[in-house]
């Protein structure tokens, strides 16, 4: 590697066992400071599980995992996390601002008493700054339940960023958003990655909305992983080896990519889970 930036995520020969079954193994990968990496792969390949390992919620069965030069789960507030799509109950009467604020100090015991001056004011400024950054100022004071999916997602990104993390882990942040919102949120995450110098690792179902923002792709399939620049990983040859079966990567005229033969590719959404399951029992 010619890149001299420090590594924020390092996995060597990592493996995960869930319920006695090895989900993936022999995984080596490095994500460096300020990189935008996507975790791709079919349903059930263990993409979200990879994030859980990085968060220290699941142990790696073998090898070594380091996150920001610490054991997973020990980097504290230096790691920001956006769990898989949470939607707030439409009746929830709490403002977006409050949601972001909880990301800053919600874990602290006691109550935020008014009039303690300094700390409260600083927290308020930080929250306002983040809401401005994600472009949510217009609706941050509305009850979160009444915000649209895209608006909620922006506020949740602000919440994940409010503690100034050096690494941001996102679990399918574009899931269940419409296409214009997918591309707007992808652009926002790309911009945050560059401007705030936050390394981003994002689990994604479809690579296309984020493709031109990406530095690195981690493709999980068949119990193994391949990692590298998107142009090297998302090719017919690499993916065919990974899946252990013939897979074609087709490029549309607008640059969008479709993986054909991948049992869980978005193009064959309707029967994805069924055929994905078949594929994995074979793998």
């Amino acid at each position: 590697m010619t890149d001299e930036r420090p590594a924020v995520i390092e996995l060597s020969d990592a493996a995960v066992r869930v319920g006695g079954r090895t989900l993936w193994g022999g995984v080596d990968l490095t994500v460096r400071h300020g990189e935008f990496a996507a975790v791709l792969g079919p349903n059930g390949a263990g993409k979200s599980t990879l994030l859980k390992v990085l968060l220290g919620l699941l142990p790696s069965a073998t090898g070594r995992v380091r996150v920001l030069d610490a054991a997973p789960g020990h980097a504290g507030r230096r790691v920001g996390y956006l769990p898989q799509r949470r939607s707030f109950d439409p009746g929830l009467r709490i403002r977006g601002t409050d949601i972001v604020r909880l990301g800053l100090d919600g874990h602290r015991w006691g109550l935020p008493l008014p009039g303690r001056g300094g700390r409260n004011a600083a927290a308020g400024t930080r929250v306002a700054e983040l809401i401005e950054l994600v472009g949510a100022s217009a609706y941050a004071n509305r009850p979160i339940g009444q915000c649209s999916g895209g608006e909620q997602q922006r506020l949740l990104i602000a919440q994940a960023l409010v503690q100034r993390p050096e690494l941001l882990l996102l679990d399918e942040p574009l899931d269940s958003l419409d296409l214009p919102n997918q591309s707007a949120i992808a652009t926002l995450i790309g911009r945050i990655c560059r401007e705030q110098e936050v390394a981003v690792m994002m689990v994604a179902h479809d690579v296309n909305p984020i493709l031109h923002h990406l530095d690195r792709v981690i493709y999980l399939a068949g119990g193994k992983a391949v990692s590298g620049p998107p142009g090297d990983v998302i090719t017919s040859d690499t993916l065919s080896v990974l899946y252990g079966t013939r897979v074609d990567v087709l490029r549309a005229s607008d640059g969008r990519m479709v993986v054909v033969g991948d049992p869980a590719a978005p193009a064959v959404h309707a029967d994805a889970s069924e055929r994905g399951g078949m594929h994995h029992s074979a793998a």
Binding site: P83, R93, I94, D98, I99, D105, G106, W109, L111
Partner: protein, 275 residues
């Protein structure tokens, strides 16, 4: 009457504060269960010849622990939890029936258990109520912020190392203790009205936590005082007045909110939704 006001004030503050979290956590059904299991608790205690207050306390906190111990994994945890809570409630109420039947000539007591005895409260009862309220509120002050976090966003809170499960257990115990104490004075039925209505009203008025919590307490105080005053000058039970005033306020606020939302949507609200 002075003691009724004292007790009413303490109960209003405690119930509104704990109820505020209960409404936010969507645990009104658990709260309802805890407030009615006071009935078998007290009737069982009377049957055994021990203090009804102790029976209330043991049953409410015990039921809180059982509800807290219920498994809540998976996506449909809310509906599963309410089904199990309902099962528990039905069984404990049935036990209450049995206790009343075993203890012959208890009829007046049942009335007091369900509807409370706001009038004729002793000084020592007020003191006990005060101590429990202070303890419950102090406990809530300590866990307040992480509890809010865990209530709104349990998965994210867990990722931030907030002990979500422990907080849920602690909250249910606080809820159990508070309802047990309050139900002795206001009756099992009225404490629920004070738990839910002021909190739901305040949350409908404002989405700012720092404003809606004090507002819930204020609403609870006003309806309790008004209810006591009205009941003093009329032959009907205090529980009816307190609940009715609280319900009336809630209806007015919901109606007002509906009107506001309607006028709010006209200029661009609907378009924004589509975008």
């Amino acid at each position: 009457m002075v003691n009724a006001f004292r007790a009413g004030t303490i109960v209003a503050v405690m119930a509104a504060t704990i109820g505020w979290f209960m409404v936010l956590r969507r645990q009104t059904f658990a709260g309802h269960t805890l407030s009615v299991v006071g009935f078998p608790g007290a009737s069982g205690a009377t049957l055994l010849g021990i203090s009804a207050g102790l029976g209330y306390f043991v049953f409410c906190v015990g039921a809180a622990l059982v509800i807290a111990a219920l498994p809540r994994a998976g996506q449909h945890r809310q509906s599963e939890e309410s089904a199990l809570t309902g099962t528990l409630q039905a069984f404990l109420l049935a036990c209450g029936y049995l206790f009343v039947a075993l203890y012959k000539g208890f009829l007046n007591g049942v009335n007091a258990l369900l509807f409370g005895s706001f009038l004729g409260i002793t000084n020592s009862q007020v003191t006990l109520l005060f101590v429990v309220a202070i303890a419950a509120l102090a406990g809530l002050a300590v866990i307040g912020r992480p509890l809010l976090f865990a209530s709104i966003d349990p998965h994210f809170a867990a990722a931030r190392r907030v002990p979500v499960r422990l907080l849920s257990v602690l909250f249910l115990i606080l809820l159990g203790a508070a309802t047990a104490e309050a139900a002795q004075i206001t009756g099992a039925l009225l404490v629920f009205a004070l738990l839910v209505l002021p909190a739901a009203t305040a949350q409908a008025i404002t989405a700012r936590p720092a404003a809606s919590l004090p507002l819930a307490v204020a609403i609870a105080l006003v309806v309790t005082w008004l209810g006591l005053l009205t009941a003093y000058y009329s032959p009907y039970p205090v529980g009816f007045y307190v609940s009715t005033f609280a319900f009336g306020t809630y209806c007015l606020v919901r109606f007002g909110r509906q009107l506001l939302d309607l006028t709010d949507c006209r200029p661009g609200g609907l378009l924004e939704e589509a975008g």
